[in-house]
């Protein structure tokens, strides 16, 4: 059932729910930029971006705190029901997952400083490819969120396997390369670190997909929801 066209009888309640949705959308936008910049730092070896990333990280953290406060306030004062209840409880999960994504992106960016101490490695391209898939996942799930559309959410949930496959094969290749050439162990550890962080961002995207599905339908996202192409 789509969201009601009626406004709340208590206007300020409706406004508080709208503010919550706006805040989540803004947080999603900032986190997406964080991930793009973090990958640029790694792939283009551009450290100049790190300062901005650190500042944005603080913004993201305070946004999460703000959203938590708003949710607690809504529960205490409004006792939201039905879709309002789902939107409110989901906001808590979304804010937490977005904050984690922001944190992992920041870690990736910081890691670029270690990586730049070594000459570029071929496997950095593979990181770029994994990063591209993860960014696509994040964008798609944020679209699902802003449009209350479960189809892109289900796709993201389904495509997490692709993220995992890329991650696993990248790790295998890296470990093989490290075992053949011990001078690759130090720089390779950085690649492993970045890959692991990207894979975990992918997992948070699937969490968000599940949250969106619940918010829209009231039901948990299950394997049965996956659409066969």
């Amino acid at each position: 059932m789509e969201t009601s066209t009626h406004d709340h009888i208590v206007t300020s309640y409706g406004e508080e729910l709208d503010e919550l949705a706006d805040e989540i959308a803004r947080m999603g936008g900032i986190v997406e930029t964080q991930l793009l910049d973090a990958l640029a730092a790694v792939v283009r070896r551009d450290e100049s971006i790190i300062k901005t990333i650190r500042e944005r990280e603080m913004t993201v953290n305070s946004m999460q705190e703000e959203i938590d406060k708003k949710v607690i306030r809504l529960f205490a004062l409004r006792q939201p029901m039905a879709t309002d209840l789902r939107v409110t409880i989901t906001a808590l999960r979304l804010a937490s997952d977005l904050e984690r994504i922001g944190d992992l992106a920041k870690n990736i960016a910081y890691r670029s400083r270690h990586m730049n101490k070594y000459p570029p490695m071929d496997l950095t391209q593979r990181i770029e490819r994994l990063g591209t898939i993860v960014i696509k996942q994040l964008r798609e799930v944020l679209d699902a969120l802003s449009s209350d559309d479960i189809e892109p959410a289900i796709r993201v949930w389904q495509n997490d396997d692709e993220v995992d496959e890329h991650y696993t094969s990248l790790i295998k290749e890296m470990l093989l390369a490290m075992s053949e050439d011990s001078s690759l162990v130090d720089p390779g550890a950085n690649i492993l670190f970045v890959a692991k962080n990207l894979e975990r961002i992918g997992d948070h995207c699937t969490n968000i997909a599940e949250a969106v599905h619940y918010q829209v339908t009231g039901d948990a996202l299950e394997t049965a929801d996956v659409i066969d192409d």
Partner: protein, 269 residues
Amino acid sequence: MTAVEAQPTVYHQEIDAENIKVAVKGVDVFYGDKQALFDVSLDIPDRGVTAFIGPSGCGKSTFLRCMNRMNDTIDGARVSGSLMIDGGEVNDPTIDPVVLRAGVGMVFQKPNPFPKSIYDNVAYGPRIHGLAATKDELDGIVEQSLRKAGLWAEVSDRLSDPGTGLSGGQQQRLVIARAIAVNPEVILMDEPCSALDPIATAKIEELIDELRENYCIIMVTHSMAQAARVSQMTAFFHLGHLVEYGPTEDIFTKPRERRTQDYITGRFG
């Protein structure tokens, strides 16, 4: 009344046949020319609380009053359709409403103890229905009923005091004890807590939660939080139609009908 396009009721699930206490099919109620209820059908389970919710004038109280033929007392009221309690037709003209009402107790918005002693309030029903042969038996029924209503500890030493001298919450529990005393099949409650403070309300809700293990309780409430807290099944009425009926948890987290959603989220416009 605004004409509303009749839409079929949304039912979330069927009640197990062996657990149906009240089976309602196609009930219409008219007050004179005005139709107050339109083709209401639903099955109410035994041993549980079913809440009727909806805006004022939606027909929920009218429907509750069908259960014990209280509409008979209103001039010009006509009820058609079938309403079976334990397989017996309530609207059967050969049924004596007085006997029916012993089996279908009712608790009202404002507590209405008789202007008699606490003891006599509870003993009244068993006496007129001849449920006790001796004074000892009657004493037993009174004590048991007051215990079940959670009032015994507060009144056992002053059973001959007038019932009307109790606090509002105690009076409401006295009225519930009075209803229980005649071993009802069904207990109807019409806004039982709307005249009570939050503590007295909590005590009644706790009592309802205990009683539901043994009785079929049907309750009309304007407090959606209360419906959510105490009931297991919820029926939403709007403009005389039963819009949606299902497990309380589903109705309050994922209603399927727009009108239900709008009402419980406070968007009615």
